[in-house]
Amino acid sequence: YTKPAPEKLAYESSIAKACGVNPQTRILAFKPAAPESNKPIDLRSQYNRPLKPANSLSAQFRRRILTSPERVLDAPNIVDDYYLNVLDWSCNNQVAIGLGSSVYVWSAESGGVSSLLETSPEQHVSSLKWSNDGAFVSVGLSTGEVQIWDVEDQQKVRSMFGHETRVGVMAWNKHLLTTGARNGWMFNHDVRIANHKTATLDCHTGEICGLDWRSDGSQLAAGGNDNLVSIWDARALNAPKFQKTNHTAAVKALSWCPWTHNLLATGGGSHDRHIHFWNTTTGARVNSIDTGSQVTSLNWSTQYKEIASTSGFPDNSISVWSYPSLVKNIEIPAHESRVLHSCLSPDGQTLATAAADESLKFWKIFEKKPGSASG
C-alpha cells in the first residue's frame, strides 16, 4: 500500500464535493441479515388489530346470517326524504308502501299487489301505518291530512284534519292514532269518535320523524329534527316525562325493546351517527354505539337478543348488533343509496328495507333456527 499523492487526494475530494458526497462521512451498513419471518403477513389485519385480543365471539358460536336479499321489489317514485315513514308491514302479512302520491299493498303470502289509493299529484304520501289488528292503514299526506283506509274493502273510512303541515310519522295504540307533523306538533286521534283529536303533544320545535308506542301502550317515544328524543307517559300528555338531548342530529330511528319493556333504542342522523339506549323508567342512558353513519331505522329482533340498524352514507347497509354486548354481528351492504325505511315481518324473521335506489328488499336476517321453539 502506497500513500496516495496529495494532489490525487485533493482531486478526489474535489470530485467528491462536486458529486455532493461528503468525504468526511462513511455510510456503514449493519452486515448481518435481518431475521426472516416465515409467517404470512396480512397488513390489513395488522392495521385493524385491536389492542385487546378479540376473544368475544369465535366463529363457531356466531350464528350465520344470510347476506343476500330473499326478494327484491321495485319501488318506483319513492320519495328520497329522510323524514318520511312510508313503509309498514301488518300483522296480516301485508306490506304497505307509499310511492309518490300512491299507496300500494303487497301481500307477502300471495305476492299480489293492489293499489290502495292515489291522491292528487300535487301532494304525496308522507307517512303510513297499519293499525295493530292489520285491518286499517292510516295515511298521512303532505297537506297535513290524515286518512284511514279499510284495506279489505279498499275504502276510505275517514279523513282527519288538524295538522297544518305534512304528517311525516304516525303510531297506533289500539284505537288511538298519534301523528307527528313537520311543525313539531303531535296529535292524538281517537279514530272511533267524531271529534277525533283528543290531545296535543307539544314539546318539539322541529319536524317529528320518529314515533313509536310501547307495546303495552303506556309510553310513547318521539324523535324530532330538533335532535330531541321525548318520552311520554300515556297518562300525562301535557308534558313529556323525559326529554333527551344527547343526539346531535335528527332522530328518526326509534324502537322499543320487545323483551325489556322500559328499554328504548334511538338512532341519530348523519351528524350524530349514534344509537343510544334508554331506560325509560329512570331516564338513564344505559348504552351507546357509534355506528359511523347516519342511522335511519332500528328494529329489535324478537328471537335473538339483537337489534338491526340501517344506515345512510357511506355504506347504505344493514348492521346487526347483539344486545347488551353491542358486538356487531354483521354488516350487510344493502342498497345503492341510503336506506330510508325498514320494518319487520310479523313473524320477526324478515326485515324489509326501502331505499332511495327505488327498490324494496327483503332480508331474512333473523331466521329461526330449525327445530327451535317458536319465538
Binding site: 462513511r26 449493519f30 452486515k31
Partner: protein
C-alpha cells in the same frame, strides 16, 4: 456560563469538538441516550407498521404516553439490540449524522422504502449560522430561543412524531412483496467500525417520493425524520 461555553465550541475545528464532549459529557450522554432510545422505538414501530414481521410478534408497552409496539421475537430483539448498542457508542462519541432504515424487496432486491433520521448536534441551536458570521454574538446573553427544551416538551415532540409515523400508513403504498430491511448509518470518516459493520452505498430509492416528518430536539441533539418511498406505477 455553560451556555456561552457551548457557543464557543460551536465555532470549532474538529479538535475542539472533543473538548466539548468532555465538558458536557453528562448532558450529552443523557441526550444521546434519549435519541438512541427513540431510534429503538422507531425501528420497532416501523417494522410493525410496515408489516415486516407479523403483528403477533409485537406487544404494546407504554412509552412517551403512547402504546408503542415492541417486538417480542427473540431473534429480532437480539438483532435490534446489537445495532442499538453500537449506535449508542457512536451517538455518545458524536460520530453519527444519519440513521437509515431501508426496506428491500426479497425477490426483486429493489429498495422500496427508506426512513432517514438526521441527527444534528444542537450545540449552537438557532444561533449557529449567525454566530459564524458575527462572533460578537457569543458574548451576548442567551436569548429565549436558547433555552433547552424541557423533558415534557421533548416527550411531547416525540409523541407527535410517532403519531405522524403511524399516520403515514395512509399515504405510504402497501408493501406488496415480502421485504427485508437494512440499517445504515452515516458516520464520520474517523469512526471506529466493528467487524459487523461495513461500507455500503446509500441505498437511495430512484425516483422516490419524499415526505418530511416532524422534528424534535433534545438538549443536545436535533432529529429530523424523512421517509421516501417508491410511487406506484
Amino acid at each position: 456560563m455553560e451556555k456561552s461555553r457551548t457557543k464557543e465550541s460551536s465555532s470549532r475545528g474538529d479538535g475542539s469538538k472533543k473538548d466539548k464532549a468532555n465538558t458536557h459529557k453528562l448532558a450529552l450522554k443523557g441526550s444521546s441516550k434519549m435519541v438512541s432510545e427513540f431510534f429503538e422505538y422507531s425501528i420497532n414501530s416501523i417494522l410493525y407498521q410496515r408489516g415486516v414481521y407479523p403483528a403477533e410478534d409485537f406487544h404494546a408497552v407504554k412509552k412517551y404516553g403512547l402504546n408503542m409496539l415492541v417486538t417480542s421475537d427473540d431473534q429480532v430483539k437480539a438483532y435490534i439490540k446489537k445495532i442499538m448498542s453500537q449506535l449508542n457508542k457512536w451517538m455518545v462519541g458524536q460520530k453519527i449524522s444519519k440513521l437509515v432504515i431501508v426496506f428491500t424487496g426479497k425477490e426483486t432486491g429493489d429498495h422500496v422504502e427508506r426512513w432517514q433520521f438526521d441527527v444534528q448536534l444542537n450545540k449552537s441551536s438557532k444561533g449557529k449560522s449567525s454566530s459564524r458570521s458575527a462572533d460578537k454574538e457569543n458574548t451576548a446573553p442567551a436569548g429565549d430561543a436558547e433555552a433547552p427544551p424541557s423533558d415534557e416538551q421533548i416527550q411531547g415532540a416525540i409523541r407527535a412524531l410517532f403519531r405522524q409515523i403511524t399516520a403515514s400508513v395512509t399515504f405510504l403504498p402497501e408493501l406488496t412483496e415480502p421485504c427485508t430491511f437494512n440499517v445504515l448509518v452515516y458516520a464520520d470518516a474517523d469512526s471506529e467500525v466493528p467487524v459487523e459493520w461495513g461500507d455500503s452505498d446509500a441505498k437511495e430509492i430512484d425516483g422516490g417520493e419524499k415526505v418530511k416528518l416532524r422534528s424534535f430536539s433534545t438538549t443536545n441533539h436535533r432529529v429530523d425524520t424523512m421517509v421516501s418511498y417508491k410511487l406506484d406505477d
